[in-house]
Symmetry: C2
Subunit: 606 residues, 2 copies
Amino acid sequence: MSKSSEREPNDLHKLRHSLAHVLAQAALKLWPGTKITIGPPIDYGCYYDFLFQKPISEDDFPAIEKEMTKIIHQAQTFRCDDLTPTDAKKFWKNRHQPFKVELIEDLEKNEGVTSVSHYANIGPKGEETFVDLCRGGHVESFKEIPVDCFKIMSIAGAYWRGDEKREQLTRIYVAAFPTKAELDQYFKNREEAAKYDHRVLGREMHLFVLSEIVGLGLPMLAPKGAIIRQELENWIREELKRRGYSFAYTPNIGRADLYKKSGHLDFFRENIFPLLEADDSAYVLKPMNCPHHMEVYRSEPHSYRDLPVRIAEFGTVYRYEKSGQVGGLTRVRGFTQDDAHIFMRPDQMQQEIEGILDLSFHIYRTLGFNDFTLRLSLHDPAKREQYVGSDENWRMAEETLRKALDAMKLPYVDGVGEAAFYGPKVDLIVRDAFSREWQLGTIPQVDYNMPARFDLHYIDEHGEKKQPIMMHRAIFGSFERFIGVLIEHFKGLFPLWLAPVQVAILPVAEVHEVYAHDLEARLKREGVRVVFLYHTESLGKRIREGETWKIPYLLVMGDKEIAEHSVTVRNVKTKKQVVVPVEEFVSTMTQDIRDRKLEASIGIST
Amino acid sequence: MSKSSEREPNDLHKLRHSLAHVLAQAALKLWPGTKITIGPPIDYGCYYDFLFQKPISEDDFPAIEKEMTKIIHQAQTFRCDDLTPTDAKKFWKNRHQPFKVELIEDLEKNEGVTSVSHYANIGPKGEETFVDLCRGGHVESFKEIPVDCFKIMSIAGAYWRGDEKREQLTRIYVAAFPTKAELDQYFKNREEAAKYDHRVLGREMHLFVLSEIVGLGLPMLAPKGAIIRQELENWIREELKRRGYSFAYTPNIGRADLYKKSGHLDFFRENIFPLLEADDSAYVLKPMNCPHHMEVYRSEPHSYRDLPVRIAEFGTVYRYEKSGQVGGLTRVRGFTQDDAHIFMRPDQMQQEIEGILDLSFHIYRTLGFNDFTLRLSLHDPAKREQYVGSDENWRMAEETLRKALDAMKLPYVDGVGEAAFYGPKVDLIVRDAFSREWQLGTIPQVDYNMPARFDLHYIDEHGEKKQPIMMHRAIFGSFERFIGVLIEHFKGLFPLWLAPVQVAILPVAEVHEVYAHDLEARLKREGVRVVFLYHTESLGKRIREGETWKIPYLLVMGDKEIAEHSVTVRNVKTKKQVVVPVEEFVSTMTQDIRDRKLEASIGIST
């Protein structure tokens, strides 16, 4: 499905991973004594975490890039050496690299490895230039790395292993693409995206409110933003009803016992707000809707004929993020999911997965997201203790999900360690208009565990109690985050059906106001969201205002329009202006809205 | 507006209040040494709180009623004596009635009275039979009280002054109506209402779920109940949009500072859940939406031309009720209000009040509530410390509200002490199909205080900063409570547009299934909520099932119907059955739904 790169994703992964070796080699060359850790590829390049003896800054970037270019020009190759853990630890101790020693100790402890791969770079004279502990996945030779395709982006602090009690490291981010053109495009997109940051546009367009006294990470949707959410809600509610979903309303709190039973209190505790101690029980501000939906399912008996039962809710949940890590609509503490839980028989699983994927693609494509990546998110066997449920259930869930994806002939990548604590899932990652990746929905997530914990059942055709399989799914993910992404994706210029204000009416002079008000009334009767811009400002100024507010259509009305019973329509996106009969404008516009068209039909060409 | 009684409300009030004197006189006669307290009228009669020397029980009711009848037959009259507080306290001390002494002490302290009214009953021989401290409002003589128009209902424990640290008293409830027929009707309604208790019907119809592990007072709407809420939401959202409201979405928590600023932490603390202590601040589980809406208003500048700004939200709030006091959908800890806050100029107040009342009457009448009482809820000057804001603002708010009600020529009663801590309001009390009173909406509540606390303003026509007046309002009040009231009001048999399942299709035999499925598909395309009842059960049994589930229309399809392209429609409410052409059925039914008709049109007569 991915069209973002000419190469296979695997080649790009190799390129970026190899570049991390180049970066580490350069850092050691420039600052011997630096402690190295790990350097994975990321969606726009790679990074590497170092413990430097003295701090580095952006001023050092040119020197690092120069050194990296030199190393690439040497066309170094890779050699794989398998060492016993004992030899490997000795090797790294001798080189004074304690983080590497720790990594090997963990591999021994958690995975019981008897051999650890190391990759050595071999220079032009056959000499060993650099060695790293690594699972592999490199280019054959650095000559495969175009020297003009990478750039050091930034540095940031990062704790060793993400643990704030451990050493603070310096992370160096590198952007890397297969070609110079793609690298340039990436920077162009980045620059564009910064201009259309949803926090900037959200303020300019009055879409949402961040209030210090309301609290951190608790954005409120102002009237104009609320319109976008209502349109999204109406749309997905309509789709869900058509697809056989039912709805529930559940509270935002639940007893601590409920979350003990579901496992959240043990496995998700760090994301849960401090408890509320009431007179009868401790209560949890709900981090997820699933436990409540379990109780809704459990409240009536179910026959095999009633399944699947699909319970949806626009459920507002709260996740306890550190106060320093929140901002805008995309990093929040409180958000509303377009959540649903599907309870099904084993033989219905594939059909349900297909239904969910079909709905997802329909939703995303309607909004102009055409570039998807699917990830099959699996548990990490090395961290078995972080997951609930039996090995057998995990195996069955992961296998069935893979089988379904294969049967649907959808390309996907494996994401080991990306599963939730209660089950594997398919994540859908989309690229927006700036080619940035967003993980929006989870579609679907298989769960054998929670139905067991809640003792859910249905009566099968033989009259016997059976346990349903459950799937979690969310298409938008969170309304807040999704609206944040949409603001940037559309650069504030929403499709007609989503635009908070759809039309501005601009009478040329006072004498045209009566006629203009007639049109306003006509449009309002059709449910169109209209603003009337009085002649007290100049026409040019009002047009600029309409453009700033990102109103899709500006309607200018003067003598000519009144005489012809027409309207001059300015399409703010194309900046084209056309004259159309009033009735044609109304019918075309309302049809575009009903069809949820991505591009407004009028004013495409002059 | 009230049609419930032939007499003026004042007469009924006098009758009930007088009966409280009769009850107290009877109690003292039967059990000398009993301590008397207070005995107000209530919506179905009156009560009186006593401290008995030994407990009484239901077994004593006949004796009390007999004594009361005897007293009424004596045709006692009332004589008013005004005493100085000193004389009055002496009088009650001599009679060993400490609660009366306490009441007089409070009147002196809080209201600075120099004279307190006492009412003595005068027996047939001119003798004084009973005296009570009382503000008056009685019948002239007990002969105005029909002896067959009252009945002792129940006893209950009640703390003196509602304070659990004070004496526990015994409250005796008496039902009292102007006529025997009205008393009988009251008991009939009560019996009917018990049969249609929303907790019973809610379980039978799977409308909502009470789960012990989710928590107390936290009902969840199951899929069928969620349909009712969605229909109510869609309806009121449509009405609000038409009436110029905009919407907001705000979180369920807010910083403690926010509620300190609004005054809730000081004046509403007992109804607030224990605080959530996060890393950056303490957070409150929101008991009201107003502080958040203040912040939404404050987030952009407003001109006098932009007002009124009407911000609506279906806002879920939490009130900390004692765990023993919750149950069903009507006494809950968490609920969603159809809330709105209107920010306006002083000159817009009357028009806004009219708009709110108009909307309320439209909503309630559409649902078949035709019997309203309006209460102008004022502050209690004796408890000034329980209210925030200046005297001047309270006076202005109360006067303006009264002026508006008078201008609209709406009858209303005064409710001293019924105001919220931040402002006076109009409460609308409706009577349901069982003549029970429900205070549903608050329409509207004037607030000069909160805009001042939040430093809200708009720019007036002279470019000067002015403070807007705010009104709080909620039409349904709480969706949960309102749905509970509707379940009972409709006895589970909702109007077509609200019914969770609108139609059941019952093919007579297997051969009729194909045709029946065609009709099912036809109806589903129209958005009708259909259930298909297969021929595996007898037709009689399926009809009984459809009736139990309160499905408005049962459609029977057999040979005759297929031949005629008709359908046999059973109206479950009227139990009448008619044969109508399929197309006529579909168009009539969908039109009824669109019109939100109270009664289904088909099967009214055979």
